[in-house]
Symmetry: D2
Subunit: 224 residues, 4 copies
Amino acid sequence: MRLPILILNFKSYAEAAGRRALEVAKSAERVAKELGVSIAVAPNHVDLAKVAESVEIPVFAQGAEVEAPGAYTAHVAVENLREIGVRGLILNHSEAPLQLNLLARLTARAKAIGLDVVICAPDPATSLAAAALGPHGVAVEPPELIGTGRAVSKYKPEVIVETVKRISEKFPEVAVITGAGIESGEDVAAALKLGTRGVLVASAAVKAKDHYAKIKELATPLLG
Amino acid sequence: MRLPILILNFKSYAEAAGRRALEVAKSAERVAKELGVSIAVAPNHVDLAKVAESVEIPVFAQGAEVEAPGAYTAHVAVENLREIGVRGLILNHSEAPLQLNLLARLTARAKAIGLDVVICAPDPATSLAAAALGPHGVAVEPPELIGTGRAVSKYKPEVIVETVKRISEKFPEVAVITGAGIESGEDVAAALKLGTRGVLVASAAVKAKDHYAKIKELATPLLG
Amino acid sequence: MRLPILILNFKSYAEAAGRRALEVAKSAERVAKELGVSIAVAPNHVDLAKVAESVEIPVFAQGAEVEAPGAYTAHVAVENLREIGVRGLILNHSEAPLQLNLLARLTARAKAIGLDVVICAPDPATSLAAAALGPHGVAVEPPELIGTGRAVSKYKPEVIVETVKRISEKFPEVAVITGAGIESGEDVAAALKLGTRGVLVASAAVKAKDHYAKIKELATPLLG
Amino acid sequence: MRLPILILNFKSYAEAAGRRALEVAKSAERVAKELGVSIAVAPNHVDLAKVAESVEIPVFAQGAEVEAPGAYTAHVAVENLREIGVRGLILNHSEAPLQLNLLARLTARAKAIGLDVVICAPDPATSLAAAALGPHGVAVEPPELIGTGRAVSKYKPEVIVETVKRISEKFPEVAVITGAGIESGEDVAAALKLGTRGVLVASAAVKAKDHYAKIKELATPLLG
């Protein structure tokens, strides 16, 4: 995972589903190439293979539920992700919270097969536990700000500061990322200034009328 | 859903993931065309869009967790399925059991947008409740036989008989399907003879050395 | 389960926890004796044994998660309920939704050991499926009204009417109960008039300043 | 939580349910008094209030699902535990695994109201994350040994050693406890020798013909 990074989470938004998943991913790829910055896209499960074969920037899965392939109807297995071209994995998003024990196993397996792993957590205390599992990054996201347009970096900077402090003390090898309410390039810049190494964005990019322009705005602060 | 039907569940088997998902689906399509019978394939979530654009036979999703698109990270929304070409939905497989209330909502929504819905259930009593939700089909599958090679139609025919009896009494418009341990054309024939209108098969087809030959064997009894 | 019935759900309200669980239960017992009507109380798990040994009216558990006793830490086993004096079981309350398959097993086991079973469901379609599982009663409760003080019998009478219609057609042996927003004796009377055989009440009784008076008000319409 | 400690988990075993919950708890209390060692009992939810009022040794809940009292049918609220005399809380037992985010909140709340908190975890990596949440103790229990009679301290000592090492390095204030397969005083002695400060035992104590004798055997090594 090249840092700093902008990760675009498509969730199950209609605006980034099916054919539109490819369009948003293509816009992200164009910005990544033009600016030379690190951008990853995380399409919905059902669009994963098609997006992964269509763009060169890293494609992340939004989650997984089992480690190995097998008799797991309707579950995504970590080990099936690499073959279809997926390069990273978001785990424990507040909309898809995982049991601690499973989260630990999925993280270990994903790392073992070479996927980048970002674990989401709602607050500093949980983020520290997430970091203890050894992912590449922890994304602290206060759930009450997700989707609100009120950026964590502006409305709850203390959450970011405290998370950065705790994790850098005990697990300095884990990058702190943040998200929730990020709407503008300014919000991204503020997040980076607070010590994070990237941002996780969903609705602001996905629902923008002009994906390309919005992603470019969000990615520009990564240039430093 | 054209009856009688053979539904092939790819689960998250490595043997039917990624590139191999397409191969198995293509074999199924070839058999469907050659014999003129009804066969549907149910690939893993992550292969869904690619398979759906590659074959003409019906593609089913193995499950879904939310009704409408939106801020649902790592969840599959029923309403996003149609656009990518999915035509049916398996719900409540014993490996992905659903809460009753959610199952009811997902069934209603899937029907409303024109998807075929098959609800799985482990026994006659639960099957009757599943039928009460108004799906197109109920697939009774004793979980203790799934993946064993001991076919329900041979080892627990009374489960099928009782399910057919109860459902035809109260909800005659719902087709009874069955599965679990189905390995051979003989098992399929037995299931149909017991009054079911189709079978749900996973490992026997997916793990066969020659997918085409095995699917042909399994589908032939559908000719009646 | 003697019908019509008033079932008081203590949830995990502080107002009906610990010592106060006994007080509310005693008030309910007093009303039941004075009016000669059927009232059951459903205290929180942690108060269950103490309440059950303290009152003579039926005590219901608010739920259970496994059928038989065993190595199930933090789970309530149906079969352990009878020994401590519990006589009934509420399942699938919207605040504790159960997987269909488990709900079917818990219902069957509870009936087998002689407990009264009431399954909750949010709407007519789900209620019909619940009834198909063969409980003694189905309690239809639109979740959006629970705890609001806007009684289902006044604000959504069509939900009750439709549920009564569907269940009486297919499973006439199952009693329809209702709940959600029930605040007054008038609400109870309206529910009974719509064809239900009882009501499930929580906050109105539990949070009343004078439990005895409120329970008496709610129970009086049961006299017919 | 006085260390070293023996914690007896009654699970939902019939042998420690209802009236027998009181008997086992009384035996534990007798041993605690005779030997002057620290023993806690963790009865099933439904027996909690009765046991807590009947013995003077610490009573732990086997779990909880919500923080505050309220409209949570069939859920145990942390804040309702203290009033009924509960003094500690086991969280995330492998038989009742919790989502990381909820586990963090429950731990924080339980500590805030003065309960002792022990978080269970299956292996060293997960144990470290559990310790990061700041509980009083972490109980490492390889699930494959639970209930087998093959003691973790004898069959997987490396799991204990590694857990003690990792936690003492990063979170030295958190006591490491262990469990799984503990059958005899010898097993307990071995666990303490490996650096743990207590053991979690279930079936060996609960299913013993003579509870008092078995608990005494298990507790004696705590004398050091």
